[in-house]
């Protein structure tokens, strides 16, 4: 573009951009102002630290008012405060859920574009499912434990959960992980936001989500956080 042409384009661009119809700013209940006259930034920082230490931010009713996103590996999770409480109740994993793509472990291992090593202590899964769409997801269920494990490749999976769910950051083998609990309806979407059909379920057990070697794991169980993390770390140690 010549200098004259660029100047004209620049002028036109500025004039047109100036007319951009920005939407009205949504109201926010929390003012960005200093809400307490005697509260200084330093004092506020100290208070935030104290609150974190006391764990008050982890109290469910407090967290439930927050609208937030978090991502771990290829899984993004939206906590939607407007989502209704699921009307259905969760079906225990001991009743094998009816999921699509039932296959064998050997076939899933052959088809998956990631390593699917199962720790010996778990033994063979009761059921294996392979979703092979935009991305791949292998689902393994052990009904006797009971455990459900989604193993997800690098393609995005997004889940949207309701306000009755609570999340907290944890660590698996020194890596960031999340512990999610509370009753929620689980919907899975691929990276084009197409729902992964057949996986809609109500979940009320805790879930641990962690990553290893570009693969994301989502484990439903009735384990305590420590037990779940210990189990997750055996996956990392697996070849």
């Amino acid at each position: 573009m010549s200098e004259n042409s660029q100047n004209g384009f620049e002028q036109w661009l500025a004039e047109t951009a100036r007319e951009f119809p920005y939407p009205p700013q949504p109201d926010r209940s929390v003012s960005p102002s200093i809400t307490h006259r005697r509260l200084t930034p330093r004092l506020a920082a100290v208070m935030v630290a104290i609150l974190l230490v006391l764990g008050l931010l982890l109290v469910p009713p407090v967290r439930a008012t927050l609208r937030e996103w978090f991502s771990i590996g290829s899984v993004s999770i939206l906590i939607d405060t407007t989502a209704p409480t699921p009307s259905a109740t969760a079906v225990p994993l001991s009743n094998l859920p009816n999921l699509p793509g039932r296959t064998t472990l050997a076939e899933a291992q052959a088809q998956a574009n990631f390593s699917l090593a199962i720790p010996d202590e778990l033994g063979p899964p009761t059921a294996v499912y392979l979703h092979d769409g935009v991305g791949q997801m292998v689902t393994l269920i052990w009904v006797d434990r009971p455990l459900l494990l989604h193993v997800i490749d690098q393609n995005m999976i997004l889940t949207k959960i309701g306000p009755q769910s609570y999340s907290e950051p944890v660590s698996v083998n020194g890596q960031a992980a999340y512990w999610v609990s509370g009753t929620r309806q689980l919907d899975l979407y691929d990276q084009y936001m197409e729902p992964i059909e057949g996986f809609r379920r109500v979940v009320d057990g805790p879930v641990l989500i962690w990553t290893n070697d570009n693969v994301t794991y989502r484990l439903e169980s009735d384990l305590s956080p420590d037990e779940a993390i210990k189990l997750a770390e055996t996956f990392i140690l697996s070849p």
Binding site: M1, N4, S5, Q6, N7, G8, F9, E10, Q11, W12, L13, A14, T16, A17, R18, E19, F20, P21, Y22, P23, P24, Q25, P26, R28, V30, P32, S33, I34, H36, R37, R38, L39, T40, P41, R42, L43, A44, A45, V48, R67, W69, F70, S71, S76, L78, M156, L158, Y189, Q191, Y192, M193
Partner: protein, 197 residues
Amino acid sequence: MIGTAVDLIDRARAGDDRAWQQLIEPLQQDLFRLAYLVLRDPAEAADVQQEALLRAWLKLEQFDSSRPLRPWLMQIALNLARNRRRTLRRAWARVTRLIRSESQPEPAAGLSERAIVREQAQQLWRAVQQLPVKGQTIVYLRYFLDLTEEEAAAVLEIPKGTVKSRTSRALTQLRGIIQRDFVELEADFVGKFPKRL
């Protein structure tokens, strides 16, 4: 209460609510607009604006009050918006936009001149979205938000010369995008600047 920016910052650091309000009042709209241009969602943009102001306030102790406040706040908002966009992933935003666009009524047949200009600005935004991220950002800062080259350099923490070269490259790319994909915008530009072509 009137005061210089340095005075106001000192007073805000001491917990003076009115001083802080006075500092941020003229800047809030720009923060929201910048976040909206990046995130394309007013609710997300409002969240970013709030978080940027909160972070700025918490970091006020560390802020060099000899520097202008606007680029610093915009830098915080831009970083938050970019991070949030990465977290949200584009697909989710695409879906929400799709849902909203489907629920919005079609524009009336006889648009007023003002409405046409605003529609063109919307189209321009869509054209800018086809630029690489660095190009988008420089166009938003310089032309949508009217920042000077110095201010844009401060927001992006790059030399002024890089702002110039980045702007020039973005304009050339944007011109090509408009010529190729935005016939109405191209006609509007050609109509307004015929001799410069």
